[in-house]
């Protein structure tokens, strides 16, 4: 039926995360299969991604891969992210304009936590600074030409000392790169293995974020390169019959586009995994006919949320692990709330997170003496049932989730609170705090930016998403929740759905007038050609390439630029005002418009993904159009929102298109549990998605005005969120 999709070969979509490597495979007959492996398991295999491929292809561990059977491998990896977090990149020298050796260390001089007694600043990524004797002014005038001889001496010394990576960051090079070009040529001549140059890496104004980005690229690219070469080498190595027959190996960039192994570099790799999640949620949501989506990816330690209303949203300024990055990245907001978030009580007020029990010891129910967490609260409430959870705990990895210790701990906590509330009420309250925290994160990317979140569908994925989806939706006033059959590995699936993408940016910083328009048109052509070249080199067919040019406009005197498609000035102004009004609630027609930057992106769509693949029975799903009521295995009960509910339990594999259930209920999936709260009704769509709909109106909650340790935290956070939203409003208003 699906026939020879993808040329009769296997395609692999891989998300190599810190703990797990998720793999979605498409077999030659078009069916999808899924596999989850531990990312690090040196006793069993050398590399999780390659091991997964071997298992699908039925090849012995360590044996050469039959590359002729593989069409493409699309992969996201946290290799660069982890090297950044753990400061394990390659030794890097920074070349910067004389007088500014410490500029990146000083940064904006602001401290991250204003109430910290001991201020801790992020460790710098470079290990040596070389001051380049040169100076260019903002208008491009050269005050002092580059002293090549002096630079040669310092760089040769650095190289001789074993430093093989260099980042070159000179003042105003985003617009006037001549000195950087000279310095880069010199560094390459001296023989540095990695030369990252700021005007190539991130040609945008602001030396601090551009410099940080360039240093990160120099520091991470070699690490990434070694990993990429290992994977690509195993896949395209000597076994390929001919060059044409070798599998295509593509990596996910933070911008949400795939890159060929040869062009994938450090600056693109920081949000590789989360980008797959955004693409996965947007594309699966779109296929399920939802136009407005909130992506909700809840895992063990953190939750990623994203907004999608037809276009991917990218940001050019992100801060990760103390490093300011100015490269296009899909807008993902991360909050430190997950299944492992620790529950604490200080005698008056409950808190949940931001500390996490992590992978080790993990939640208390994992039998390793861990603290009480959100996951434990769900065990306490009967929402997570050991009977339906893999028995992988205990010293021999064969025990079910532990419930007794969890019950005891919550009972002790209830005793400590001492106001007569039960252990269940405590656990229910902890869930409420966690849910409010995550809902506040979603408000940041929706309500705070002018979107009415009640019009959205929540696309829920990640290992802990299904336990909280209905509660999150209720808190936000959302009436629809989508759970894709691959929701446990949606980021990996997203790798398969992403296009190849190459983009170029350039700062402009000029008023919007005819002279600037001329410059924009010239640049759009030049940058578009460069991006197209890149995709052609990566093997994309010319006819499959689509070019889009965006102009980042802002009111004079503001720093918040909004991207609009490049067109006539009148059209751009109209688009700008429409977005501005939507985002900030007003426009200021009297203010002059400035062009901050131009961004040109070339995307190449993979035709082989155009057909919606059917989902294989291997992940426990029956394709078809079964309309009977689903088989009921048993009933259980869970506690939620201050009362017990009797709940039928359904196996995901028993649910088929057309099936409808009424909440409360539990749906047990291979990789997660979906808690269907009272008032919600799941329906299985023709594509085998679960679509949860709110069928009863929400009742207004009747709260007592007496102080409650759970609600104290909830209200504290709500009041704070209001003050923060006021602050965001103040910073974006033009003046």
């Amino acid at each position: 039926m699906a026939g020879q999709i993808g040329g009769g070969k296997w395609h692999f979509f891989i998300d190599r995360g810190g703990t797990f490597t998720d793999v979605v495979a498409r077999s030659p007959d078009g069916n999808l299969k899924a596999l989850k492996l531990l990312s690090e398991n040196p006793e069993a295999y050398e590399d999780a991604a390659l091991e997964a491929i071997r298992r699908f292809l039925d090849v012995a561990s360590g044996a050469p891969l039959p590359t002729q059977r593989i069409g493409a491998v699309k992969m996201g990896t946290t290799v660069a992210t982890n090297a950044l977090l753990e400061r394990k990149g390659d030794a890097t020298a920074l070349v910067i304009t004389r007088g500014l050796a410490d500029q990146l260390e000083i940064g904006t001089q602001a401290r991250p936590d204003i109430f910290a007694r001991q201020i801790v600043k992020p460790e710098m990524l470079y290990c040596r600074v070389v001051e380049a004797d040169e100076r260019v002014r903002a208008d491009g005038a050269v005050e002092r030409p580059l002293d090549i001889a002096a630079l040669r001496h310092s760089l040769a010394q650095a190289n001789a000392d074993g430093i093989d990576s260099v980042a070159i960051v000179l003042m105003h090079a985003y617009a006037h790169p001549a000195h950087e070009q000279q310095a880069a040529a010199l560094a390459r001549e001296i023989g540095f293995g990695q030369v990252s140059v700021s005007h190539e890496i991130a040609p945008l104004i602001k030396i601090v974020p551009r410099g940080d980005t360039t240093v990160a690229d120099a520091y991470l690219s070699p690490v990434l390169r070694r990993y990429v070469d290992r994977v690509a080498g195993a896949l395209t190595g000597e076994n390929a019959d001919a060059l044409n027959d070798a599998p295509r190996v593509l990596f996910m960039a933070s911008s949400g586009g795939l890159k060929a192994a040869e062009t994938f570099r450090g600056r693109d790799a920081i949000l590789s995994g989360p980008a797959g999640g955004v693409v996965g949620m947007a594309e699966t949501g779109r296929r399920a006919s939802f136009e407005k989506l909130i992506g909700f990816d809840m895992g063990g330690t953190s939750t990623d949320v994203a907004h999608f209303a037809g276009d991917y949203e990218r940001t050019f300024e992100t801060q990760i692990a103390g490093v300011r990055l100015s490269v296009p990245m899909l807008r993902v907001h991360t909050v430190a709330a997950g299944g492992g978030s620790i529950i604490t009580f200080d005698g008056m007020r409950f808190r949940v997170g931001p500390e996490s029990a992590g992978a080790n010891p993990g939640p208390k129910c994992y039998r390793r003496g861990g603290p009480l967490t959100v996951t434990d609260a769900n065990v306490m409430l009967g929402k997570l049932n050991p009977q339906f959870f893999p028995a992988i705990f205990g010293p021999d990895s064969d025990q079910p989730l532990e419930t007794d210790a969890v019950r005891t701990a919550f009972s002790e906590l209830a005793h400590e609170v001492g106001d007569g509330r039960s252990a269940e009420e405590i656990a229910d309250g902890a869930i409420r705090i966690a849910v409010e925290n995550m809902a506040n994160a979603i408000k940041k990317i929706s309500v705070e930016r002018g979107y009415d979140v009640t019009e959205y569908a929540l696309n829920c994925f990640g290992s802990a998403g299904g336990q909280h989806a209905c509660l999150i939706a209720d808190t936000l006033g959302i009436d629809t929740v989508l759970i894709h059959p691959l929701s446990g590995l949606l980021s990996a699936y997203g790798m398969g759905l992403a296009p190849q993408r190459a983009s170029r940016e350039q700062s402009i910083e000029a008023p919007l007038n005819s002279e600037t328009m001329h410059r924009l048109e010239t640049l759009a052509y030049e940058l578009g050609s460069a991006a197209t070249e890149e995709l052609l080199d990566e093997g994309v067919e010319h006819d499959a390439i689509v070019i889009e040019s965006f102009v980042h406009l802002r009111y004079q005197g503001t720093d918040t630029a909004l991207a609009v498609p490049l067109s006539e000035p009148g059209f751009m102004l109209r688009d700008f005002e429409a977005i501005h009004r939507q985002r900030f609630g007003f426009v200021s027609p009297e203010k002059p418009i400035f062009v901050a930057a131009i961004e040109v992106a070339a995307t190449g769509t993979d035709e082989t993904m155009a057909v919606a693949p059917s989902v294989s029975g291997d992940i426990g799903l029956k394709p078809g159009t079964d309309r009977r009521a689903p088989q009921l295995r048993e009933t259980t009960r869970f506690y939620s929102r201050a009362q017990w509910h009797d709940a039928p339990v359904y196996m995901r594999g028993d649910l088929a298109p057309g099936h409808t259930i009424d909440g409360p209920a539990l749906v047990i999936e291979p990789n997660q549990t979906v808690v269907v709260e009272a008032g919600w009704s799941p329906w299985v769509s023709g594509d085998n998605d679960i679509v949860l709909t709110r069928i009863e109106p929400r009742r207004r909650e009747m709260l007592s005005d007496k102080a409650d340790p759970i609600l104290l935290e909830v209200f504290n956070n709500l009041f704070m969120a209001i003050a923060e939203q006021m602050g965001v409003s103040a910073t974006v208003t033009p003046r």
Binding site: L100, I114, R117, P209, D346, S729
Partner: protein, 479 residues
């Protein structure tokens, strides 16, 4: 520029009595002082406020701190529009509010009139209508009017918009939970914060410290803890009298410093609201430099004296070594542009740790404008911005290193610096050595370098440069 690039603003939510409920503080100095502005408006306008109204003030003797910081206050009414149930407020540092020099941070003023336009309880928005003409007249009036009222008005509109956002979100919350519940929790969160501070107080010791300044004045504080009642008295008796300069700090500044210090001491993410100060009785002698009387000049109180008070408090608590004790306020400008920045030194040393180099501490946390933006928008060239390695005060634990900044001007420019610890060394604590003094100098066209002292104004010709070295905190503990 100030509000957006430097994040020199704060927004807050208050209950019906004007008590702080929640604050998104970018700057600690705004914390614990904005409620005084709200209280002033309640006192003066009670009964006459109508839905859609907003008020503003900067009056240092009536709820404000210094003239550039303008606070906009919006009452939030109940559904019937008859009763004020909450207030929202936003405070932003305006680039210029008039006064003797561009940027309104003159070191020369001896009276408040010379510092700029005084705004005392001004009706800014009347039932939804922005009173632009009246506002413009106010800003353009007085002996030293604002230089660019258009910019002030744009900033004020941003503040009004921020308040409108706060009002809308509060309404949404009331709709969801009911007014009774929201109002009740505004009280509960204050009680909760009060309790958190009381727990800290039960563990604190009495203390006393006296900090000297370049002006020959001193800030003295005595902290007396009643462990049984879990309360404390913070008494500033012994502090110098009000001065004929602008280092006088209106009372809310010291209050903000006390609140900040105790919040740091708690060492936990407790809610920051009016409850925090309930167990603490603050005594500030009338007519002292920490509670000056009209018409004393005050512009440095908010940005300089606040850091000195904080040093005294941490000294009395024996908790942290001194910081640089200044913000190094640099302003420059002409008729076309005005610019303001504050410069960091290192972080204080403490028991068990050295201070980090080059980072803003205590009452400020403004972001510095990126060098490329600075040079694109202003006729200047940043010749150097570096860390003075090894400059932090020595001790068992060293203070963080300070910075050096050299800005060359490409056009004729008026320049003013307001700073401290150019002659007195920041103190060492518990046997730690003192920090280094800072310096301000001008490199003239002929190459000569001229020290201009801690508080100075000067005119720079194209090619001339200002050179600032920030002082460093003292060490902690005997080396």
């Amino acid at each position: 520029m100030n509000i957006k690039e430097r994040l020199d603003f704060s927004c807050a939510v208050f209950d019906a009595n004007g008590a702080l409920v929640a604050n998104a503080p970018h700057l600690p100095v705004h914390l614990g002082s904005m409620d005084r502005s709200v209280e002033t408006i309640i006192r003066a306008r009670s009964g006459e406020m109508r839905p859609g109204d907003a008020y503003m003030l900067n009056a240092p003797y009536n709820g404000g701190t210094h003239l550039p910081d303008i606070t906009v206050i919006t009452p939030v009414f109940d559904e019937t529009g008859t009763r004020v149930v909450f207030y929202v407020a936003s405070r932003g540092h305006h680039e210029d509010i008039g006064g003797l020099t561009p940027g309104s941070m003159t070191p020369r003023a001896t009276t408040i009139e010379e510092e700029g336009v005084l705004i005392d309880n001004f009706h800014l928005v009347d039932r939804g209508r922005f009173l632009e003409n009246e506002t413009r007249a106010l800003l353009s009036g007085g002996k030293y009017p604002a230089r660019r009222p258009d910019k002030n008005i744009a900033d004020l509109k941003a503040q009004i918009a921020a308040n409108a956002k706060g009002e809308a979100e509060l309404r949404r919350m009331v709709k969801h939970f009911g007014l009774d519940v929201v109002s009740a929790y505004m009280r509960h969160v204050q009680d909760n914060a009060e309790e958190a501070v009381r727990r800290l107080l039960a563990k604190l010791d009495d203390g006393h410290y006296r900090v000297e300044t370049d002006q020959g004045t001193a800030v003295e504080v005595r902290i007396t803890v009643d462990r049984e009642n879990r309360s404390a008295k913070v008494d500033f008796n012994g502090t110098s009298a009000q001065q004929p300069n602008n280092f006088n700090a209106p009372e809310p500044v010291t209050r903000a410093a006390v609140l900040y210090t105790f919040r740091v001491m708690v060492d936990e993410p407790i809610p920051m609201n009016a409850g925090c100060l309930k167990p603490i009785e603050i005594t500030i002698p009338e007519g002292s430099m920490l509670r000056p009387t009209y018409p004393a000049a005050v512009v440095a109180g908010n940005v300089e004296t606040s850091q000195i008070v904080t040093n005294a408090l941490f000294g009395a608590l024996n908790a942290l070594g001194s910081s640089q004790g200044t913000m190094n306020n640099l302003t420059f400008g002409n008729d076309r542009v005005q610019y303001y920045e504050t410069l960091c030194s290192g972080a204080p040393a403490g028991p068990g740790f050295d201070g980090a180099a080059a980072v803003h501490v205590h009452m400020t946390n403004t972001r510095l404008t990126d060098p490329e933006i600075l040079e694109l928008r202003y006729p200047v060239l940043l010749e150097e911005f570096s860390i003075r390695r090894g400059s932090g005060g020595k001790g068992q634990w060293h203070s963080g290193d300070g910075t050096r900044r050299v800005i060359r001007f490409l056009e004729r420019m008026h320049c003013a610096i307001l700073s401290g610890y150019r002659t007195v060394h920041p103190f060492g604590l518990n046997g730690g050595g003192p920090g280094e003094t800072g310096s301000n100098a001008v490199r003239r066209g002929d190459g000569s370098v001229e020290d201009i002292g801690g508080c100075a104004e000067t005119l720079l010709e194209p090619g001339e440069a200002i050179i600032i070295s920030t002082p460093t905190g003292g060490g902690f503990g005997t080396p």
